[in-house]
C-alpha cells in the first residue's frame, strides 16, 4: 500500500499524559511490516487534513476538551474523514468528544462531534487505576490492560457496541469499556493505550489495509509481551 497517513489531532490541547505513545506504536507496528508511515501532528490553530488513514485523539482537561470539540466542529475535516471511512481512535477526553455530548466544566452538557452515537456525562467519583477488560470476540483483540483516570460515564445508542467487558476497573460505568461503530473506536484507557495492547493497534491497522497483516518477528515483540504478562498477572501492582 501507499504510505500509511497518521494524523495526531491537537497535541497542544489533547495530550495530557503519554498520548504520543499511540502514534509511536502504530508507526512502529506498521514499519515492522514494511509499511511506510507519514505522520501529521496538527495543532489547534491548523486545519485537519482530509486524507488521513488513522486519526488519533488523546486526553485533555475540561477547558482544552471543550475548545478542541468546538474547533473540530468548525473545521469539519475529521467529520468528513470519518464519513468516508477513515479510522478514528480516541481515548479519554477524545473518546467523549467523538460522541454526541459530554460533560464540560461543572458537568454542563457540551455538544460533541457525533461521529459515534454515544453520550457522556460526569459520574459521582473519579475512576483512577489499572483496568482489565475482555474485548468483543468479533474484533479478535486480546484482553485489554491499561490505566484510566476520568470521571466520565458513557452510554451507547443503538448500533454502537461496547469495545470490551470490564474485568476490573470502571470503564463506561455500566460494566462495559469503550465503544465502536464502523471504524470509529474509543476507550477510557488513557494515554498510551495501544502500548500495552498491540493487538488493538493491529486491529486499527487491519481496518486501514482491509487485509490480514503479516506477522511480526517475535523477537521484536518480546519486550511488550513481557510487559503484558507483568500487567496481566494479578499481583500487588
Amino acid at each position: 500500500m501507499a504510505a500509511l497517513r497518521l494524523v495526531w489531532i491537537y497535541p497542544d490541547l489533547l495530550s495530557t499524559y503519554g498520548d504520543r505513545g499511540n502514534l509511536l506504536v502504530l508507526a512502529r507496528r506498521a514499519q515492522l511490516r514494511g509499511i511506510a508511515v507519514e505522520v501529521a501532528q496538527v495543532n489547534s490553530d491548523q486545519r485537519i487534513p482530509a486524507d488521513g488513514d488513522v486519526y488519533l485523539l488523546g486526553g485533555g482537561e475540561d477547558l482544552p476538551q471543550i475548545l478542541a470539540a468546538r474547533r473540530l466542529a468548525s473545521d469539519g475535516g475529521l467529520t468528513k474523514a470519518a464519513a468516508r471511512g477513515a479510522v478514528v481512535f480516541a481515548v479519554c477526553a477524545g473518546y467523549q468528544i467523538i460522541g454526541t455530548e459530554f460533560g464540560g466544566v461543572d458537568g454542563d452538557p457540551e455538544p460533541g462531534l457525533g461521529l459515534i452515537d454515544i453520550s457522556s456525562g460526569r459520574g459521582d467519583r473519579r475512576g483512577v487505576g489499572e483496568v482489565l477488560a475482555d474485548v468483543d470476540p468479533e474484533l479478535g483483540v486480546e484482553r485489554l490492560t491499561g490505566f484510566e483516570n476520568h470521571q466520565g460515564v458513557t452510554r451507547r445508542g443503538p448500533g454502537v457496541k461496547p469495545l470490551a467487558t470490564v474485568v476490573s476497573g470502571v470503564g463506561n460505568g455500566d460494566g462495559t469499556e469503550g465503544a465502536y461503530a464502523g471504524r470509529v473506536l474509543g476507550t477510557y484507557l488513557h494515554g498510551p493505550a495501544l502500548v500495552r495492547n498491540p493487538s488493538l493497534a493491529d486491529l486499527l491497522l487491519r481496518w486501514v489495509t482491509g487485509a490480514p497483516l503479516p506477522a511480526i518477528n517475535p523477537r521484536q515483540e518480546e519486550l511488550v509481551a513481557t510487559l503484558r504478562r507483568e500487567r496481566l498477572t494479578p499481583a500487588p501492582a
Binding site: S15, T16, D62, R126, T226, L227
Partner: protein, 418 residues
C-alpha cells in the same frame, strides 16, 4: 535586617509544648529504629495531640514557602543558604517532608528560629497558606506529575489562584515564564515576577484563562482570544546571567548543574531581596550548595564515580537529560504511590538523545521503560541493580536518573552518606 527587628515568638501554650516534645521524642525513636530520617512521625503524633499545632508553631515567624512541580527541595535549600547570610537560625524541612506533618516537625525542631524556609507539596498550598500565613510564597512551575493523585493541573492552578487571592499579606514570587503559574499568581496583592525560564512547554499550550491556543514568541507569550499575557518581569535569568530589578547583571556560577538549578537560584535570590539580602551577599552562599538531599552528589562505588539525578516527571526528565555528562547512564523507574501508579508519562519524555551512549535500565517498572526505549530506538540493557550496571559498565563514571522511590532505593544501596 537584625533579629531584634523581628517580633519575638510567643511562648507556645502548654498542650502545644507537650505535643512538640512528644513529637520530637517519637522522631528520635523513629531515627534510632532506622525507619527513615524521623522528620514526619514526630509531626504526625504532634498533630494528633493538637490539630492546630502548625498554626501555633508558625506564629511570629517569617516563613518562606516554596512550591511547584519541580525544584522545591533544591530551591528551599538555596533559600536557606541565601538567608543563612543573615546569621540567624532557619527552620527548614530540608529533606522534602512537605506535607503538614513535615512542616510541623521542621518548625518544632527549631523553636527559636524566626526565619523558616519550607517546601510544600503543590496540592496542599491552600491549607498551608491559611495555617502558616507565610511572608513569601515562591511559585516555581507547574506541569504534569502524578496525575493519578493530582487529577488535573489546571484545577491545581485554580486552587492556588483562589488561595493566593485570599492571602493579601503574602508576597508571591512567581515564574512569569510559566503561563499556568502566572495565572495562579495573577490575583496576588503583592507579586514579584521572575523570568526564570520554562524548558517544558507541553502543559501550557493553552490559555489558563480561556483555553485558547497560546501564542509564543521566544520567552514571551500571549493569548489571541482574551487579554491574558505574560506579566512584565523584574528579575530575569538570561543564559547564566541573573538580572536584578536594578538592572545589574551577575554571572551565576553554581556548583549545581543545569538550567533548572540556575532558575531555582534566581528565585532564591529574589526571596533574599525581600529580606534585605542583596545578590552580592546571597550569591556566594547559593552558588556553593553542592548536594541537595542526595541529588547531584557523586559517590564512588567499586571504583566507579556514580552521580545521582532525581527526575519524577516529564519536565524533570527533560532537565535531567540536559545535564547528563557523556558516558554510560542507568535509568530506574518505579510506580509506587509516591511516584504515581501510572507510567504513561514515560511516553512524554523524548529519549532519542540517549541513542549514542551505553544505557542500562532497572527499577520495578523497568519493562515499561524498556518498551518505551525500544520505540525510540535506544539500545539498552536490562539490569537487576545499580551494582550489576557498575560491574557491566567498566567505566570510570556513570550517571543515574531515577524517579522518586527508585532514587531512594539506589541511595540506600550506595549508603545514606550520599
Amino acid at each position: 535586617m537584625s533579629t531584634s527587628s523581628l517580633p519575638s515568638r510567643a511562648r507556645l501554650p502548654f498542650r502545644a509544648r507537650l505535643a512538640t516534645t512528644v513529637g520530637g521524642a517519637a522522631g528520635t525513636a523513629s531515627r534510632l529504629a532506622g525507619r527513615g530520617d524521623g522528620s514526619v512521625i514526630g509531626g504526625v503524633i504532634g498533630l494528633r495531640l493538637k490539630p492546630d499545632l502548625l498554626s501555633l508553631l508558625a506564629q511570629g515567624r517569617q516563613i518562606v514557602m516554596v512550591t511547584g512541580t519541580n525544584g522545591k527541595t533544591t530551591t528551599t535549600r538555596l533559600v536557606t543558604a541565601a538567608l543563612g547570610t543573615l546569621g540567624q537560625p532557619i527552620a527548614s524541612n530540608a529533606f522534602g517532608a512537605n506535607m503538614e506533618a513535615g512542616l510541623v516537625s521542621a518548625l518544632a525542631k527549631a523553636p527559636d528560629a524566626i526565619l523558616a524556609a519550607l517546601e510544600v507539596d503543590e496540592k496542599y498550598i491552600p491549607s498551608m497558606l491559611q495555617k502558616t500565613q507565610p511572608r513569601v510564597l515562591v511559585l516555581l512551575n507547574l506541569s504534569r506529575d502524578q496525575m493519578d493523585r493530582a487529577a488535573e493541573i489546571w484545577m491545581l492552578a485554580r486552587r492556588w489562584r483562589e488561595a493566593i487571592a485570599a492571602a493579601p499579606d503574602c508576597r508571591v514570587i512567581a515564574n512569569a515564564d510559566d503561563p499556568l503559574v502566572a495565572w495562579a499568581a495573577g490575583q496576588a496583592r503583592q507579586v514579584t515576577w521572575v523570568a526564570a525560564g520554562q524548558r517544558w512547554h507541553d502543559d501550557s499550550w493553552c490559555c489558563p484563562q480561556c483555553g485558547a491556543h497560546l501564542q509564543r514568541e521566544g520567552d514571551d507569550w500571549h493569548c489571541l482570544e482574551c487579554s491574558y499575557r505574560r506579566p512584565p518581569v523584574s528579575w530575569m535569568l538570561v543564559g547564566d546571567q541573573v538580572i536584578d530589578p536594578a538592572g545589574r547583571s551577575t554571572t551565576l556560577d553554581l556548583v549545581l548543574p543545569g538550567r533548572a538549578n540556575r532558575s531555582n537560584a534566581v528565585m532564591a535570590l529574589a526571596v533574599a531581596e525581600v529580606f534585605g539580602v542583596t545578590v552580592p551577599h546571597a550569591l556566594p552562599a547559593v552558588a556553593g550548595v553542592r548536594s541537595v538531599a542526595g541529588r547531584y552528589t557523586q559517590v564512588d562505588r567499586h571504583g566507579c564515580a556514580v552521580r545521582l539525578l532525581l527526575a519524577k516527571n516529564p519536565a524533570g526528565w527533560l532537565e535531567a537529560l540536559d545535564v547528563l555528562e557523556p558516558g554510560p547512564v542507568l535509568l530506574s523507574v518505579n510506580a509506587q504511590t509516591p511516584d504515581g501508579r501510572d507510567t504513561s508519562w514515560l511516553w512524554d519524555v523524548d529519549y532519542r538523545r540517549l541513542r549514542d551512549r551505553p544505557v542500562f535500565v532497572t527499577g520495578e517498572r523497568r519493562m515499561d521503560l524498556a518498551v518505551r526505549l525500544e520505540a525510540d530506538e535506544v539500545l539498552f540493557r536490562l539490569v537487576g541493580s545499580v551494582d550489576e550496571a557498575i560491574d557491566l559498565v567498566r567505566a570510570p563514571s556513570m550517571e543515574v536518573i531515577a524517579n522518586y522511590t527508585a532514587f531512594q532505593q539506589i541511595r540506600a544501596v550506595l549508603g545514606r552518606t550520599v
